[in-house]
C-alpha cells in the first residue's frame, strides 16, 4: 500500500533522474519501487487470472479438471468448444447477439449523431432542457426497467422480438452516446464548417465530410460501447425474451448452467470464453478509445 511517489516515474525520464542523484545505486532504485511492482503484479493476476483459468479449464476434458487442476492442460483439447458450437442454443444465441449488437450500434449512431450535432451547434429554445432530458436517465438502472418494460412490451405486443431489444438497448446507451458526442463535436472548430458553408455546402454535407471524419474516434467508442451494452446485457434479455430463438448469449449461458450439469465444467468455461470473442478481435484497436470513453462518460 505504501506507494512511493517517485519522481523518476515522471516524464522527465529515468536516465536524467539518475544523473541528478547519481550516488544512488540502481539496485536501491528498483528496491524502492517494490511497493509499486507488487500491486501492479496483483493487478495483472486479478484481471487476467480468472480468464486464463477459464481458458485452461475449457481446454481440458471434464475428468481432467478434477484430476489435474494445473493451469496448463496436459493434453489440450478443443472438445468442449466443439460441444458448445454444436449446440443449437449457442449458435442461435450467438447470431442473435451479433444481430442485436450490430443493430444497436448502428441505431445508436444514427440517432445520436444528429441529436449531438443539434445540441452542439444550434442554439434553440429548450436546448438545455432537452439535453438534460436526454442525459439524466443515464442514472436509471436496467434492473429498474425490467418490470415496467416487460409490461409495456406485453401491452404493445413487442415481447420476444429482436427489434424490441435493439430499441431498448439503444435507449440504454443513448444518454452516454449523446453526452460523448456533444463534447466531441463542440471541440471541432466551428470555423471549418463556416468555411464550408461559405462555399455553399449544406448541413448534411458538412456533417458527412467535416464532422463525422473528425469525430471518428468518438464514433468508434460509441459503437463499441453500444455493441457491448447489447452483447452483455442480461437483465432486460431476461425480462423481454421468452423463446430460445430470441435470446442472447448471457441468457443462454445462464440457462446452460442447469442444462449441462456441474460435471461438464469445460463446456461452461468454453461458452464463457466464446462470449468474449468479438472483444478479443477488436481489443487492441479499441482499448484506448474505450478507456477514454468510459472515463469521460461516468465522470460527469
Amino acid at each position: 500500500m505504501t506507494v512511493q511517489p517517485d519522481k523518476d516515474a515522471s516524464a522527465s525520464g529515468r536516465g536524467q533522474a539518475w544523473k541528478r542523484r547519481g550516488w544512488k545505486p540502481w539496485l536501491l532504485h528498483y528496491l524502492k519501487r517494490v511497493p509499486v511492482w507488487i500491486p501492479l503484479i496483483a493487478l495483472v493476476v486479478w484481471t487476467v487470472g480468472p480468464i486464463l483459468m477459464t481458458l485452461s479449464i475449457s481446454a481440458k476434458i471434464p475428468a481432467e479438471v478434477y484430476s489435474a487442476p494445473s493451469l496448463i492442460p496436459a493434453n489440450p483439447t478443443l472438445a468442449a468448444y466443439q460441444e458448445i458450437l454444436n449446440r443449437e442454443g449457442f449458435r442461435g444465441a450467438f447470431m442473435n447477439s451479433l444481430i442485436v449488437g450490430i443493430g444497436t450500434a448502428a441505431l445508436t449512431l444514427t440517432v445520436a449523431v444528429p441529436a449531438a450535432y443539434a445540441f452542439a451547434r444550434f442554439r434553440f429554445r429548450g436546448r438545455h432542457l432537452l439535453l438534460l432530458f436526454t442525459l439524466l436517465p443515464r442514472l436509471i438502472p436496467s434492473l429498474g426497467l425490467m418490470v415496467p418494460l416487460y409490461r409495456l412490451a406485453v401491452a404493445f405486443g413487442a415481447l420476444d422480438r429482436r427489434t424490441t431489444l435493439v430499441l431498448v438497448f439503444t435507449s440504454q446507451i443513448l444518454p452516454l452516446a449523446v453526452w460523448l458526442l456533444v463534447g466531441f463535436i463542440q471541440q471541432i472548430p466551428r470555423e471549418l464548417e463556416e468555411a464550408a458553408n461559405v462555399d455553399g455546402t449544406n448541413m448534411f454535407k458538412r456533417i458527412r465530410y467535416i464532422v463525422l471524419p473528425l469525430a471518428f474516434p468518438a464514433l468508434i467508442t460509441i459503437g463499441v460501447l453500444a455493441f457491448r451494452e447489447a452483447w452483455n446485457e442480461f437483465n432486460l434479455v431476461l425480462a423481454l425474451t421468452r423463446t430460445p430463438g430470441n435470446r442472447t448469449l448471457p441468457y443462454e449461458l445462464w440457462l446452460l448452467q442447469d442444462s449441462v450439469g456441474f460435471a461438464n465444467n469445460p463446456a461452461m468455461a468454453a461458452f464463457a470464453i466464446l462470449t468474449l470473442i468479438p472483444f478479443i478481435f477488436v481489443y487492441l484497436r479499441i482499448e484506448r478509445y474505450i478507456v477514454g470513453g468510459i472515463t469521460a462518460g461516468s465522470s460527469r
Binding site: 500500500m1 506507494v3 512511493q4 511517489p5 516515474a9 516524464a11 500491486p39 493487478l43 495483472v44 486479478w46 484481471t47 480468472p50 480468464i51 483459468m53 477459464t54 479449464i57 479438471v65 478434477y66 487442476p69 450535432y117 443539434a118 445540441f119 451547434r121 444550434f122 434553440f124 436526454t134 436517465p137 438502472p141 434492473l143 429498474g144 418490470v147 418494460l149 416487460y150 431498448v168 439503444t170 435507449s171 440504454q172 443513448l174 444518454p175 463542440q186 464548417e193 458553408n197 457491448r228 452483447w231 452483455n232 446485457e233 431476461l238 448471457p250 449461458l253 445462464w254 448452467q257 465444467n265 461452461m268 462470449t275 482499448e287 484506448r288 474505450i290 478507456v291 468510459i294 472515463t295
Partner: protein, 325 residues
C-alpha cells in the same frame, strides 16, 4: 482568493463553492450569434427528436409507469388491477422476504464498496506510478468491463470451486483447507462480493487514476521536502485532492452493485439458505417467478429511491471534504 482567506479566518470550514451547473454552458460554441451556421429554427428539433423520443419512451416513461403501477394491485394473477394507494409499499415494511433482501443488500453493497474502493485505490496509485513502458497495464484493467456479468459469474464459479478451483489451490499452499464456497452462507457472500468487484472495478480504477493524474506534482514535491513519507503523501495529499473522483467512483460502485442481478443470480442464485438473496433477486423473483408484478414495481421504486439517496449522500459527503479544484 480574497474571499477565501477572509472566510478561513472566521471558520475552519471552507466557504461553500458556488453551485456548479449540472451541464456547463459552452462558452464560444452554440452561443455565437454571428456564426453563419446553426440558425435554422426547426432543424435542431428535428435532429434531436429521435433520441429524445427513444430516451423518453424507453427510459423516462417506464419509471413513471412503474411509479404509477405500484399504486395498484391485482387480487389474483391476471385479475383486474385495483387502486390500493401506498398499500404495496406499506406491505413491504412487514414483508420478511423484502427486509431480509434489504439486509443482504446492505452487506453486499457495503462489502463491495469497502473491498472495491480500496482495491481500486491500490491499483490506481500503482498505475499512476508505473513507468511509460507499463502504460499498457492501464488498458488491461478494462478487460473485465468487456465480460458480461453472467460470464464473470461462470468464471468465478470455476475459480471458487472447492475441489479444483484456483482459489482453494492457493489457500492450500498455506497449509489450510479452503472452504466449500457455495455451501456456506458467509463464504458464498464473500464469493459474490469478489465477483461483483471484479466486474465493476475497471471504471473505479480509471476514475481514481484520472484524479491522481490531475494532481500537481509540485504539491507532492513540497510534501516530500517537508519530510512526508510515501504513505503520508498518499493519505494526506493525494487522497484529499481526489475526493471528487473518489466520490464519483463510490457512487458508481454503489449504483452498479445495488442494481446487479446477473452476477449474483448466475453465481449463487441467491443461496445457500437465501444468504445472497439481494434486492435485485427479490425483485426478479417477485416479478417473474411469483408473478406479483405490481408489488415488484414497488420494489423497483424502492431500488431507484435507494439509488438516489446513496448518490445524494456521497455527493454531499464529498462536497464537505472537497478542497476545491
Amino acid at each position: 482568493m480574497v474571499k477565501m482567506s477572509t472566510a478561513k479566518t472566521t471558520s475552519t470550514r471552507p466557504p461553500r463553492e458556488p453551485r456548479r451547473r449540472l451541464l456547463r454552458r459552452p462558452r464560444s460554441v452554440g452561443q455565437d450569434r454571428n456564426s453563419l451556421i446553426g440558425h435554422n429554427k426547426a432543424v435542431p428539433y428535428i435532429l434531436s427528436t429521435p433520441s429524445v423520443v427513444l430516451v423518453g419512451f424507453l427510459l423516462a416513461f417506464p419509471v413513471l409507469y412503474a411509479a404509477f403501477g405500484s399504486l395498484f394491485r391485482a387480487e389474483f394473477m391476471g385479475g383486474q388491477e385495483e387502486f390500493v394507494g401506498f398499500q404495496n409499499y406499506l406491505d413491504l415494511l412487514t414483508d420478511a422476504d423484502f427486509l431480509w433482501a434489504l439486509n443482504r443488500t446492505a452487506v453486499f453493497v457495503g462489502g463491495c464498496l469497502v473491498f472495491g474502493i480500496s482495491l481500486a485505490l491500490i491499483f490506481a496509485f500503482a498505475l499512476n506510478k508505473a513507468g511509460r513502458r507499463l502504460r499498457f497495464l492501464r488498458g488491461l484493467t478494462i478487460v473485465p468491463y468487456l465480460v458480461s456479468s453472467v460470464a464473470a459469474a461462470v468464471m468465478f464459479r470455476l475459480l471458487f470451486n472447492d475441489q479444483f478451483g484456483a482459489v482453494n489451490r492457493i489457500i492450500e499452499l498455506f497449509g489450510v483447507e479452503g472452504p466449500t464456497w457455495f455451501a456456506h452462507t458467509g463464504w458464498a457472500m464473500l464469493a459474490a462480493i469478489v465477483t461483483q468487484v471484479w466486474t465493476d472495478l475497471p471504471l473505479a480504477v480509471l476514475l481514481i487514476l484520472g484524479g491522481l493524474q490531475t494532481i500537481e506534482p509540485s504539491l507532492l514535491d513540497a510534501a516530500e521536502v517537508d519530510g512526508a513519507t510515501g504513505w503520508k503523501r498518499a493519505t494526506r495529499v493525494s487522497i484529499p485532492l481526489i475526493v471528487p473522483q473518489l466520490a464519483i467512483a463510490t457512487v458508481w460502485f454503489s449504483y452498479a452493485t445495488l442494481t446487479s442481478l446477473g452476477v449474483v443470480l448466475a453465481l449463487t442464485g441467491g443461496g445457500p439458505l437465501r444468504s445472497t438473496r439481494t434486492l435485485p433477486i427479490h425483485l426478479y423473483e417477485t416479478a417473474f417467478l411469483e408473478l406479483r408484478r405490481n408489488e415488484a414495481l414497488a420494489v423497483v421504486i424502492v431500488v431507484l429511491v435507494l439509488n438516489g439517496l446513496l448518490t445524494l449522500v456521497y455527493t454531499t459527503f464529498s462536497r464537505r471534504f472537497d478542497i476545491g479544484n
